[in-house]
Every structure is written in C-alpha cells, then in structure tokens.
C-alpha cells in the first residue's frame, strides 16, 4: 500500500501537469482554492488524472465523505449549511483543516475553500484502501 508521502509526490506531479503550478512550490498544508488558486474546473481535471493514475473513481464530494459516513442517519448539512454534528465529524476526520475554521454556520461552499493538498492525498489513500 502506498504511503501518504508517495501519494503527495504523485499529487504534486498531477497538479503541475494539469495547472502549470510548479511542484517544488507545493506543500502538504497548502489549500487548493486559496493558496494554489485551483478552481472546481481544475479540480475536476486533477481528479481525472488521479483516477487514471490509480485506477480509482474520485468525486469532489468524496473529500468529505468519511466525515459524512460517520454520522449515519444524523444530518450532515441542511440547505448547504453544515450542522453542528457535521462540524464535529469534520474536526475528527479532516484533522488537516485548522479546527478554528470549522465553526457553526459553515457552508459547503465555504468548506471547499479549506480543502488542502493533504485532504486530496487522504482521499486518494482512502480510495486505495477501498473505502
């Protein structure tokens, strides 16, 4: 099984090929949307390249999948606003995100701004583990 450091290297290569952002300048904690200026259109392309590389299926919403799954029947979001239970689950399962930013009233659109390279690497790892 691949280690997260190896996946990080692959992710950096894919991002460089897809967006032209130099891989040497990419750090694990960089946020995709703010720091690397990747938008959802770029992310779709990046996910396609990672899917091809690892022969797995990836969706943008998969990044928060584990936090959602953990809640079972408890609602994760209502009308795009993440519930208190959803926030708690995100804190546990997306520990790479600064917990100070995971506050009540956070919307799904705001959450995507917090996704980092680490989130992406974790997603690939989870999929490789067969989640």
């Amino acid at each position: 099984m691949k280690k997260i450091e190896e996946i990080f290297e692959d992710v950096c290569n894919v991002i460089e090929n897809s967006t032209g952002y130099k891989k040497e300048d990419i750090n694990m904690e960089d946020t995709l949307f703010d720091k690397l200026e990747i938008d959802s259109i770029d992310l779709v392309d990046i996910l396609f390249e990672l899917e091809t590389l690892y022969d797995i299926e990836l969706k943008i919403s998969d990044i928060e999948l584990k936090a959602k799954k953990e809640l079972g029947d408890v609602q994760y979001e209502i009308d795009g606003v993440i519930t208190a239970e959803g926030i708690e689950s995100l804190k546990q399962h997306m520990s790479e995100i600064n917990p100070d930013k995971l506050t009540e009233g956070l919307t799904i659109n705001e959450l995507i701004q917090l996704f980092s390279i680490h989130s992406l690497c974790k997603l690939v790892l989870l999929k490789l583990e067969g989640m």
Partner: protein
C-alpha cells in the same frame, strides 16, 4: 470556394483539419501563434495559406474576411474574441460557422446582427458542435409533425477531461450571464432554484444543474417555444459546491490572458475514444404526451469536426438560400434524422429518464 479555419491548431481545430484532409478539401489556416500554424502546415498539401492574426484587430479581421468565402471559427472563448469578426462577417455577404457553446455570445449575435446579416446576404451559423447540433436536429425532426411548446435538454458525460478551450471557457463562465427561456422571454438562470431532481434509470443520486447551451437560443428562434432550458447531470453531492455568477465581465479578459499561459492539455486519443455523452431531450408538443428521447454520443470532438465538414459540404453543394444568424440544424432542414445517423449518434425513443416532480 476559399475555406478558412481560425484556431486551426487548437484541440478541435486540428481534428476538423484532419476531417477536411480525408476528403481532400483545400483550406487556409489562421490563428495567433505563428509557430503552431507553421507546424500544422508542414507536409500538409491541403493547407494553401497560413497567417497569424488577432481577432481583436480590425485589420486582421478584414484580411481574413477578404480572403475567405467560408470562415470556420474554432478560436474560443468566443465572447471575448469573436464578436468583432461576426459583426464584420454580417456586413460581408460571406459564410461563417463556429463551434461556440456560449449562449450569451450567440444571443447577442442574433439580437444585434440578424437584420444586417440578412440585408447583406451573410450566413452565420453558431454552435455547429456536438452539444447543440444533435438536439437541434432532433427538434427539427420532431417539429415537422407537432408544434413544440417546451424543451429541456440534459447532458451526462462519463469522462471529466475536456479540451483546453472548453476548460478555459468553463473557467470564464463565472463572468457570464446564463439564460433560459420562460413564457418565450429570456430570463437568467439560478443554480439553486432551477436545479431539477431527475431519475436517470439507474440507482445513482444525480441532479440536473442549469448549464445554458446554444440550443436554448435555437429553440426560441426556430420554434418560438414557451420554455427552453439546458442542464448538466452531475452527482447530487457535487452540485452543492456550485455557486451562481459572482464576478463582473470586465475581469474576464484579464483572467483569459493568464489562462492562455497555462498550456492546458486536452484528452488523449484513448480518452477521446472512450468518451461517452448521454443527451436526453425532454419535449412537450401540442396534442401529444410529453416524452424524452435519448441520444448516445461518442467522441464529441470528432462529432463536432464531422458536423463542420458535413455543414460545409451541404452549403457548397446545395446553396441553402438561407441568410442571417441561424442554428446548425436549419442547414439540414428536410432530413435531420439522416444527419444524426451520419454523425454516428444512436437515438433511443424509449428512454428511462424521468424528471421528478
């Protein structure tokens, strides 16, 4: 006839050139990048001339029009680059085709240039590309018997990799208005309010999000429909990340210049070969029950290239005596289903696709 291809070295432009080479047509190529033009011209005897032009410069636009009888424009994004060209073609009595999927650009063209292009016997065909030609042809065929009252088109792609031009156009869409037709009037779309729950005949949780394409305009022009909308089918969870237009149009040019430096890559041949697009056309006609037709489209880039070649052939062999800003389906008035078949599109009249109330 002097055929000119603008943006010939682009992803779809190259495939169009290959299709013209197959039938041994001669053409000239234009674009901004002289090196890319020279590279494409090397060893290709079908290419008569090549010239570097900038569609924002009137002198270049006039040169192109003066040296062409048929202009095929593949140089998107069209909103930012091509209005000057279309405006001057409208006055010229020449023939113009493009592969634009940008509804605002197409709407403006018809709103402001229809009269002048008819007066000068110019023929301007927008959206001669897979996403709108197929649905336009389906509607042309169905309208022969019963008047069309409303239409919704839905697209589902099995693959996420798009051409560099499409990627740039999609990234710039945040600067643009998106349209639908209601009560035969233009209205803006709202990503949340206009989202539709669907049942695609499988168990996946999918929704249809507004994604305005040229056929919305074509349906308004050709059939004076009461309602017309187009959608993209995506995963329900992914739809929650989508937001309405936020930016102002003036910023688009600045971003375009930055994006051009990025040198995006399009799908490789193997990806193109495995590409599949499902198109669902939900239609409401007078005197009959609403129904949904399903079309399966493979390799949308090749289909676009074939559509361009078929359209040019049709115009050159049989002058359609058609002027103004028209939809691509209008060129094939009389035998639309034959063209759908020629393009290799499979039609299914018994679709399991349903719109949930």
């Amino acid at each position: 006839m002097r055929i000119s291809i603008v943006g010939a070295y682009g992803f779809t432009g190259k495939i169009i050139c290959e299709e013209f080479n197959k039938i041994n047509y001669s053409y000239s190529i234009y674009g901004r990048n002289i090196n890319a033009l020279n590279e494409l011209k090397k060893g290709n005897s079908n290419i008569k001339n090549s010239k570097s032009i900038n569609l924002r410069i009137i002198g270049d636009v006039n040169y192109l029009i003066e040296n062409s009888d048929v202009i095929i424009n593949c140089a998107g994004p069209f909103t930012e680059e091509s209005y000057l060209l279309v405006k001057n073609v409208a006055k010229s009595g020449k023939i113009y085709l493009d592969i634009s999927g940008e509804i605002g650009f197409i709407k403006n063209s018809r709103d402001y240039l229809q009269e002048i292009s008819v007066k000068n016997k110019s023929l301007i065909i927008h959206g001669c590309a897979f996403e709108s030609l197929v649905s336009d042809l389906i509607l042309q065929s169905l309208s022969e018997k019963n008047k069309i009252k409303s239409v919704k088109t839905f697209y589902k792609f099995n693959q996420k990799k798009v051409s560099p031009g499409t990627r740039i156009t999609m990234k710039l869409s945040k600067y643009r208005e998106s349209f639908k037709v209601k009560n035969n009037q233009w209205l803006n779309c709202d990503l949340k309010k206009d989202l539709i729950q669907i049942n695609n005949g499988n168990n996946s949780k999918e929704v249809a999000v507004p994604y305005p394409l040229p056929e919305v305009a074509f349906s308004k022009w050709n059939f004076e429909v009461n309602k017309a909308e187009s959608f993209l089918i995506i995963d329900e969870n992914d739809s929650k990340y989508m937001t309405n237009r936020k930016s102002v149009e003036g910023e688009a040019l600045e971003e375009l210049e930055k994006l051009r430096l990025k040198k995006y890559k399009g799908p490789e041949l193997k990806d193109r070969m495995s590409q599949k697009c499902e198109l669902f056309v939900n239609i409401n006609q007078e005197s009959i029950h609403p129904k949904t037709l399903e079309a399966e489209i493979k390799d949308t880039y090749l289909l676009t290239a074939k559509a361009i070649v078929l359209t040019v052939e049709k115009i050159l062999k049989k002058n359609p005596n058609l002027y103004g800003i028209v939809s691509p389906g209008q060129i094939f008035n009389g035998n639309p289903l034959k063209i759908i078949q020629k393009l290799g599109v499979k039609l299914n009249h018994q679709s399991k696709f349903r719109i949930k109330n």
